[in-house]
């Protein structure tokens, strides 16, 4: 037992051990298809996509102090754009890239208006824009297929000129693609958040006026942040389109924006790994509850209420605040 706590505490505190854990986790993700069925892989992909969406939310919420209720709109932009491109017969990479690009453009245009506001006004404006995208996806029947959505999106092969051509029609093949894309995206976000730009985002969260009085344009920085967040949501959507092979307007409904917010709060919003942990737990929670009862909404609702009233720092926050000191004290006693 002491050995276990010992290792745990060590691994938590030292940077090198953290890297070991991370490496183990990534290796685990990559060997998972060797011993698991398709549904587990499918679920991990769904989690990865929710995770991207949660990062998109948390970049705004936890790092820049803005609550967006419209990320589902950008998610849908990415999904529809990617779906359209793939339906036109393109290969996977252009689909994903164009999906992300369309989401980014939408985020720049809408963000221009949104970043002038904060707090509830920002939340309401993003809600309005998200729902405008929703009504477009529903009503622009010629382009979006209306309420039926885009159906039968092919999971096109991943080819890059004549260099490689990888078929994506099996679940494991697409799984590797999604996991790789997600890990790269998360790594890039990690770099961004530790870079000068990320420092500025966090400064804006703490004090907007102070940031403007050290010579940085708050609006411009917020717009950059909003655009990056839009791109992450768009990437999530773009990865979803070939996975589900169907995209319907409900992807852009505001209810869909609440999932990543809940996942983020669940994981802990001031913590880089919060969205990953939150997405995994939230997804499992929902998936498991749905299996056992038709009254999944009641149970999920109660869990969220308890969570908001007790662990506002989320799982990672609670881990840091309670479990970690406890482990340390155990270790000290042992020593």
């Amino acid at each position: 037992m002491t050995w276990l706590t010992n290792t745990l505490v060590l691994s938590i505190n030292s940077h090198r051990f953290k890297l070991v854990w991370l490496g183990a986790f990534i290796i685990f993700l990559f060997i998972l298809p060797l011993f698991s069925g398709d549904y587990l892989l499918y679920m991990v992909m769904q989690m990865a996509i929710l995770c991207l969406l949660s990062y998109s939310v948390n970049l705004l919420l936890g790092y820049t102090g803005l609550l967006s209720f419209g990320q589902a709109g950008f998610y849908a932009c990415g999904a529809y754009a990617c779906g359209k491109v793939l339906l036109a017969g393109a290969s996977l990479l252009p689909g994903i890239v164009i999906g992300v690009a369309v989401a980014a453009i939408a985020a720049i245009i809408l963000g221009f208006f949104c970043v002038r506001h904060t707090a509830i006004y920002f939340a309401m404006l993003t809600l309005a824009f998200g729902m405008m995208i929703f009504s477009l996806t529903q009503k622009w029947v010629n382009f979006t297929g209306g309420d039926d959505g885009l159906i039968g999106i092919p999971r096109a092969a991943l080819n890059f000129f004549y260099i490689f051509n990888i078929k994506m029609d099996t679940i494991p093949a697409y799984y590797y693609f999604v996991i790789a894309a997600t890990l790269i995206a998360i790594y890039i976000l990690y770099r961004i958040l530790n870079s000068p730009l990320g420092l500025i985002f966090q400064g804006i969260r703490d004090s907007e006026t102070r940031v403007s009085f050290v010579g940085i344009s708050v609006r411009k920085s917020r717009l950059i942040c909003f655009t990056i967040a839009g791109m992450y949501a768009g990437l999530g959507g773009a990865l979803l389109a070939p996975l589900e092979q169907t995209i319907t307007p409900s992807a852009s409904h505001w209810i869909n924006s609440t999932d990543p917010i809940i996942a983020t709060l669940l994981g802990g919003m001031y913590n880089f790994s919060g969205p990953i942990v939150g997405s995994v737990i939230y997804f499992l929670l929902k998936d498991i509850i749905v299996r056992f009862t038709m009254n999944w909404m009641l149970i999920l609702g109660i869990i969220i209420i308890i969570l908001v009233l007790t662990f506002r720092g989320g799982v990672m926050g609670a881990f840091r605040a309670y479990l970690l000191p406890w482990l340390k004290s155990r270790l000290r006693q042992g020593a």
Partner: protein, 417 residues
């Protein structure tokens, strides 16, 4: 990256609980069938009725020795009326829970989405409520997504049948649409208008209105239609929305107007609507102008088989079976028949067996058309009456029976059997 530690434990946990254990061998001890439908929100009764219908079928089959000796186990999930949820459910049911057969599904969009992924899942799906003609005409017939079948009448019922009935009514000269603002509503109206115009070029479309999902106040739409004084309104909003719409139409005095002759409520024969409409029908608020049809009617045909089914359903659940219940019931029996015929669970063999199958539903024989996997059977239309001696709820009476061959569209190279 601070605390990625927790993730590994979660991942390990994930492996423990989710490593799948199932694969289809030929006729296992337990045959698993997975259903899904809408069981939350304002249309929850459709899914709920599916569960009831499926429960009866599963119980009957298990009590009479199962399918070739194998017990049947059912799991039913909430589709939330969202394609994303439904595809996820389908994947879970097949890949993880190990379902051998899928059934249910309420909306056109979800039907199309699932039809597209069924070949990958390598299972058969029998849709019991989603009605879009695009499913059988495009997805199955043209694109060849042959794992999907449909055990309910398509939108021909909602569009073509009323046209066949009302083309012979000389007092109907102007028509109007109150459409559910999605493909089911648009398709039904398009078929209705086209068919009616073919027989009666003199008929004029005077107004059109539409209402999205979750709409609650239909007075603006009704008002817009009433301004044009149509003789007939074809309405497609269903479930709770349909009910609100009709109540609001009564309040606006629509049914009192002498120029107004017929309200055709496409899925008006549904039990949830019948239950909700009872007080108004009883009070004569519709003046006999409310017509409707469904995808199965509990009071037609008046055969011992149908009566027995209805009686059993009422005994068990205290309600009348809706079409979603009857269709699910039939779908499960169709699957049973196919398995018994092929003595295997091989998807391709089952598809072959289902194509052209004749199955005894509570309302008589249904024939699954091999070209487009559409179950062909007749459902009449009627207008709402109330008769306490027959049923505590209002129901569709004065039924007009048009045989399906007269109003179903056919695949191009189709030959009647």
């Amino acid at each position: 990256m601070k605390k990625l530690t927790g993730i590994l434990s979660i991942a390990l946990f994930l492996v423990f609980i989710l490593t799948p254990a199932v694969n289809a061998a030929d006729l296992p001890k337990v045959i698993k069938i997975g259903g899904q439908g809408i069981t939350s929100g304002s249309k929850a009764d459709y899914g709920h009725q599916m569960i009831l219908g499926a429960q009866i079928a599963v119980e009957e089959i298990n009590n009479s020795g199962g399918i070739l000796g194998s017990k049947v186990e059912m799991k039913f999930m909430d589709s939330e009326l969202k394609a994303a949820v439904a595809t996820k459910n389908a994947r879970y049911l097949v890949k993880d829970w190990g379902a051998h057969f899928l059934f249910g599904i309420d909306s056109s969009g979800i039907s199309m989405a699932l039809a597209a992924i069924m070949p990958q899942l390598d299972r058969i799906l029998i849709i019991c409520h989603g009605a879009t003609h695009k499913l059988n005409e495009e997805a199955i017939y043209k694109k060849g997504l042959r794992n999907t079948f449909r055990m309910c009448v398509p939108t021909y019922q909602d569009g073509i049948l009323p046209a066949m009935i009302f083309k012979d009514r000389p007092d109907i000269k102007t028509i109007a649409s109150l459409a559910a603002a999605y493909s089911y509503g648009y398709d039904s109206w398009e078929m209705f208008e086209k068919t009616l115009k073919k027989y009666r070029p003199d008929i004029e479309v005077v107004a059109k209105a539409e209402a999205p999902f979750l709409h609650m106040d239909f007075t603006p739409q009704l008002n817009a239609l009433m301004a044009a004084k149509p003789n007939l309104i074809l309405a497609t909003p269903w479930g709770g929305e349909g009910l609100m719409m009709l109540r609001q139409a009564i309040l606006l005095g629509l049914f009192e107007q002498p120029w107004f002759k017929v309200w055709f409520q496409c899925m008006g024969g549904s039990i949830d609507m019948a239950e909700g409409l009872t007080p108004d029908v009883k009070a004569g608020k519709f003046h006999g102008k409310l017509w409707g049809t469904a995808r199965y009617l509990w009071n037609w045909p008046d055969t011992p088989r149908n009566k027995a089914f209805v009686a059993k359903f009422r005994d068990k659940f205290g309600r009348f079976p809706n079409y979603s219940a009857a269709n699910v019931y039939t779908a499960i029996y169709a699957f049973k028949q196919a398995v018994e015929q092929t003595k295997s669970l091989d998807t391709q063999k089952l598809i072959k067996a289902l194509e052209g199958m004749k199955i005894q539903a509570p309302d008589g024989e249904r024939w699954i058309r091999p070209e487009d996997h559409q179950a062909c059977y007749t459902v009449p239309a009627g207008n709402y009456v109330y008769d306490k001696s027959v049923c505590p709820n209002a129901f569709l009476g004065n039924l007009v029976v048009v045989p399906w061959k007269k109003y179903f569209r056919n695949p191009p190279d189709y030959k009647l059997p």
